[in-house]
Symmetry: C2
Subunit: 300 residues, 2 copies
């Protein structure tokens, strides 16, 4: 086990030597204070260690190999201990920002047995009859699992706010409720990685046009996407508010530039990898007598 | 769409030309009649188109690319139509036969958004208070999804029978109940792929020894594994019965030789691919006016 840990360290050191002096977490973490979404660069590629799109598959593969190893260790701990830690990746962003693409290409590198994926759609009647956090709590990852939220509690201060689905007094309270909820969650052993996939209005237009131009992509298109697009400024205002007001130490926001798909996918995988590395997970220790079991096996 | 379909056909034809004259489904399908598990070769590699372990990653990659494409089409249909088909892969096998390995390496090639994975453990009190199929029904894949059962309804005629957890009159009825259940499921549009991962007793011994020898694999070991191993003949008798009695046309059994991990993983992926190919899925047709939406986008 200690041998394993040593090899982790040297792998991290190697990565640092290769040019990533600063963690991606630090590079993408949103600073405290007021947010102007339009000023956040959606085409940048901060921290990317390769050349660009050309070597993105190879770079992602490198991240994937490490992810695979550490995720198995997290999962193993979850199988052995009820109080094992878990991870929660929250994906938020406008239509076409690539929540699905991240799940397919970044999360898809991980063993499906360790992933608890939940896509939050328009709430059902039952969900609406409870507090907005009810369905969120039900979907939290168990011990040793990596939960992925495709949309999340933040829809309740986004679409709900922009579309006026509840009175302002109602959604105004939610920022604090979310902060409290996330702080409790972090305190109970869940590492939270919140990613705002920042796609520009221009790039969204291009992606919607591509979907309309290609019959194989029509199923991804929804006329409602244009309705939301027309309310872009109102959505950006709602994003600015939640990014500022829910940017806490236990659950900070990361802004992932999302106009370049290859960067976006690599970045989310790398953020997840860094979190797993920080956890310094060891393999669970056997709760049985190894020598005795070897003897039993030999006799069997 | 018709263009797409043509390319499917030529891809299948190409595969046939490359040497797989017979589908893997036909090769691995268990013939009707009495079954003697010990006589089923657990080290064979029927239908494998490559050289062996050395080119298994490349062969799996080939299958993975096609799987990825067809799975997306299945998923797209599920997003558009409530009556879209679905697929259910049932994985059964003794400890160490590699249900987890198949999920990690074969199912892991597919977009996690299209996978509904369910591992059936020892039933909870609530589950025991219902019919044995209750928890199975709850876990069935929705439209467009690929469901994966890690263990299944068959545990209720396996461990339950061998360990004597219910009276014989009870489990005797279950074979017919399962056949009825699976026939209904198939009739309602779910393609069922049942895989018995056939590991030999000898290979199981080697794998358990490996788990005991490596502290990083201790978490995969459970002293109960030896208890079950000691009852190998009783388990094989129970397997022989369910393989014979639940080998129906709508839901036939496939016996996957599982002593070679690389073959086992490739074979399950290939079985899944063949099922998806048979479905001749087309992309769903837009339920909106494409020209009108292009104009709306241009104005937005």
């Amino acid at each position: 086990m200690s041998k394993k840990k040593k090899s982790d360290k040297s792998s991290s050191e190697q990565e640092l030597a290769e040019g990533r002096k600063t963690s991606l977490h630090e590079l993408l973490r949103l600073p405290q204070g007021p947010v102007d979404v339009a000023s956040l660069d959606s085409r940048a590629t901060p921290g990317y260690p390769g050349k660009g799109k050309v070597d993105a598959p190879a770079q992602s593969e490198l991240v994937g190999q490490r992810l695979d190893e550490l995720q198995e260790r997290l999962y193993a701990n979850g199988r052995e201990h009820e109080d094992a830690p878990s991870v929660l990746v929250v994906l938020q962003g406008m239509d076409t920002s690539g929540k699905g693409g991240v799940i397919r290409h970044a999360i898809g590198m991980v063993d499906p047995q360790g992933i608890a994926l939940k896509a939050f759609k328009k709430p059902t009647k039952e969900e609406l009859s409870h507090s907005f956090l009810w369905r969120i709590r039900k979907a939290l990852p168990g011990p040793g699992m990596i939960g992925i939220f495709d949309r999340s509690q933040y829809e309740d201060v986004l679409a709900v706010r922009v579309e006026g689905l509840v009175p302002v007094e109602e959604w105004e309270k939610r920022y604090e409720q979310i902060n409290k909820f996330e702080a409790d969650l972090a305190a109970s052993g869940t590492k939270i990685i919140k990613c705002f996939l920042n796609v520009s209005r221009e790039e969204q237009g291009a992606r919607l046009a591509e979907r309309l131009a290609n019959p194989e992509k029509h199923w991804k298109y929804n006329p409602g996407d244009i309705d939301a697009r027309k309310k872009w400024p109102a959505y950006m205002e709602a994003y600015a508010d939640l990014l500022e007001r829910c940017n806490t130490d236990p659950a900070p926001w990361h802004v992932v530039p999302a106009d370049r798909k290859w960067y976006r996918n690599w970045a989310v995988a790398q953020l997840l990898l860094e979190r797993l590395e920080e956890m310094e997970l060891s393999w669970p220790v056997a709760d049985f007598d190894v020598a005795k079991e070897k003897a039993r096996l030999a006799r069997s």
